[in-house]
């Protein structure tokens, strides 16, 4: 088996009875080890829900998930959790406001009983390019980009094989986005990581990923590679529309008559 992630017919339903809502409706794709796969779509397309299902934060209502060569257990043991880690969109919300950077990085090490904690904390700070002297700062004493570096360090400190990235740069300034994307590229190369990247930004996905799935309303409408994403050659009209709107603003009377 050299598939890192195998998703087949995944369904996720929120709520019960008449109020239920299918966020993901029969999604299938595979990501081989070492590859970088992108999920693109607008809000409500279900792309983030897939990430949450893969990290067992939400429970699927149907379909099969295989991660790192085995089926995803309902109550995954710690050893399994370690292998798949998440980076969230908003570094302001994903770091505990009352924990120092040191504590944020130490927590996962304690949970998994890792040895050489001091060394690992310092090493992970170095790896994400944070000065060691920031170690005892609190998140509110860091900039957005630095916080996202902490979040990445927290995910990497457990030495995972798969990193699930949920809009990792959309809350950041563009100049910081470039730094974080470069960092993620470097880390992937250095550690042979598998990435599953969720984003609404086509250019970011094209830059980071080998293959891309375009999602709309809980379904994958098209799977393509980054080359086709760049040129805008698609088979599905929705992909075409998404691509067109990401090209910037044009005074186009055609778009005016919607409503």
């Amino acid at each position: 088996m050299n598939e890192a992630i195998e998703v087949s017919d995944l369904e996720v339903t929120f709520g019960h009875g008449t109020k239920s809502f299918k966020a993901v409706q029969g999604v299938s794709f595979t990501v081989p080890f070492g590859q970088s796969f992108g999920l693109v779509g607008e809000s409500g397309s279900g792309k983030s829900t897939i990430l949450r299902a893969l990290s067992v934060l939400v429970r699927p209502s149907g379909g099969r998930l295989q991660v790192a060569g085995g089926p995803l257990p309902l109550h995954p043991p710690k050893t399994f959790r370690r292998r798949v880690q998440l980076v969230f969109q908003d570094p302001y919300a994903s770091l505990h406001p009352r924990h120092s950077i040191d504590r944020i990085l130490r927590e996962p090490l304690e949970v998994h009983g890792f040895d050489r904690r001091e060394e690992r904390i310092l090493q992970s700070l170095d790896e994400v390019g944070l000065p060691r002297r920031y170690r005892y700062r609190y998140p509110h004493q860091l900039s957005g980009g630095q916080r996202q570096r902490v979040a990445i360090a927290r995910a990497l400190v457990l030495e995972p094989e798969i990193l699930l990235l949920d809009e990792p740069t959309s809350a950041l300034d563009v100049s910081i986005q470039a730094e974080i994307l470069n960092l993620l590229s470097d880390l992937r190369e250095a550690r042979q990581l598998t990435y599953l990247l969720v984003s609404h930004n086509l250019a970011v996905v094209a830059h980071m990923c080998d293959r891309v799935a375009i999602m709309s309303q809980g379904k994958i409408v098209e799977v393509t590679d980054s080359r086709h994403l760049r040129t805008g050659t698609f088979t599905h009209p929705y992909s075409q529309q998404l691509w067109a709107s990401s090209q910037g603003y044009f005074r186009d009377p055609a778009v005016l008559d919607v409503g």
């Binding site: 949450r52 990290s55 067992v56 934060l57 995954p76 043991p77 710690k78 959790r81 370690r82 798949v84 880690q85 998440l86 969230f88 969109q89 908003d90 919300a93 994903s94 770091l95 505990h96 406001p97 009352r98 120092s100 040191d102 504590r103 927590e107 996962p108 949970v111 998994h112 002297r133 920031y134 005892y136 700062r137 609190y138 509110h140 004493q141 979040a151 927290r154 457990l158």
Partner: protein, 299 residues
């Protein structure tokens, strides 16, 4: 002085201790910028000091020794607050009474805070049936009228300060459980909890190390604000003769004892009454200040 300040406000703390102290100091700066909160703090500190130093401020004997020749004397140099109907020195009684008030406040806080916090956090974090059962239990206790339950309690056990404390504690925790639950529900949805789950942290660990530090400030604030009510309830029970029993110098009981003389010898009731008022006010002001200084939503 300047050195200590820059150490506390350092941008790059060199140790966990420095980082934590720096956070306390920032909260203190926020609190000390509020004059009303400082007045509240001063009153609470005064209460603490007078409770701690009571035997040195006023001799213990003066609290109980009766002097029927010198009863109902107005405030004078000899008796600063005057004397009561049995000729006991009111100043000594008020000072020693602060020990009782402080004990009530401390015991209720120790019982109510942790109980409400734990029940609320567990209900909020675990959810489902656990939540339903715990919250219905909370509702049951919330439905008891506090003073009436206290009366029943005291009647069933025996009148005394311990029964009063127990009765107050049992009827006081539900609002804390609700508060902690509401906070927990909000915290539970945050990404940092999702991150902790994804890293394999267990539920007890998450509650203890992630949820609790964020619930604490609001519980402490609420507790401080409620102190006034607790002191008043205790005094009320004392006034009705169901709390502290004579000759104990509990302030509520003292007000009750003086109520027959209130028209001619106003000080007998009024002075312990002022003590109750001041301490309640102090806790209220401090609580308000703490709310502004500690509110996690502001930082």
């Amino acid at each position: 002085m300047n050195n200590a300040r820059s150490w506390l406000l350092a941008d790059q703390p060199a140790s966990p201790l420095q980082a934590r102290m720096g956070r306390f100091y920032t909260s203190w700066l926020a609190l000390s910028a509020n004059p009303l909160a400082l007045i509240g703090l001063a009153i609470v500190v005064l209460l603490l000091l007078s409770a701690l130093l009571a035997p040195w401020i006023a001799p213990r004997d003066a609290v109980y020794v009766q002097n029927l020749d010198g009863r109902l004397q107005p405030p004078s140099l000899l008796h600063w607050f005057g004397t009561d109907e049995l000729g006991r020195d009111l100043f000594a009684r008020v000072v020693h009474g602060s020990r009782i008030t402080l004990m009530i406040v401390a015991l209720v806080a120790i019982i109510v805070g942790p109980l409400g916090l734990i029940i609320g956090m567990v209900a909020g974090y675990v959810g489902g049936w656990t939540d339903r059962i715990l919250m219905r239990l909370t509702d049951i206790f919330l439905a008891f009228p506090r003073l009436v339950l206290a009366l029943a309690f005291v009647a069933a056990l025996r009148p005394g300060i311990e029964s009063a404390i127990l009765a107050i504690a049992i009827t006081s925790w539900p609002p804390y459980a609700r508060l902690a639950r509401a906070e927990t529900l909000m915290i539970r949805r945050s990404d940092f909890i999702a991150a902790a789950i994804a890293q394999g942290a267990s539920a007890p660990r998450i509650i203890r190390r992630y949820v609790m530090p964020l619930c604490m400030p609001s519980v402490v604030i609420r507790l401080t604000l409620d102190m006034a009510g607790i002191i008043l309830t205790a005094a009320g029970l004392g006034f009705l003769g169901l709390g502290a029993q004579p000759p104990s110098p509990e302030w509520g009981a003292m007000v009750a004892a003086g109520r027959g003389y209130v028209l001619d010898q106003w000080w007998v009731s009024t002075i312990p009454g002022i003590a109750i008022l001041l301490v309640s006010l102090g806790f209220n002001l401090l609580g308000d200040g703490l709310r502004d200084a500690l509110d996690p939503r502001q930082s």
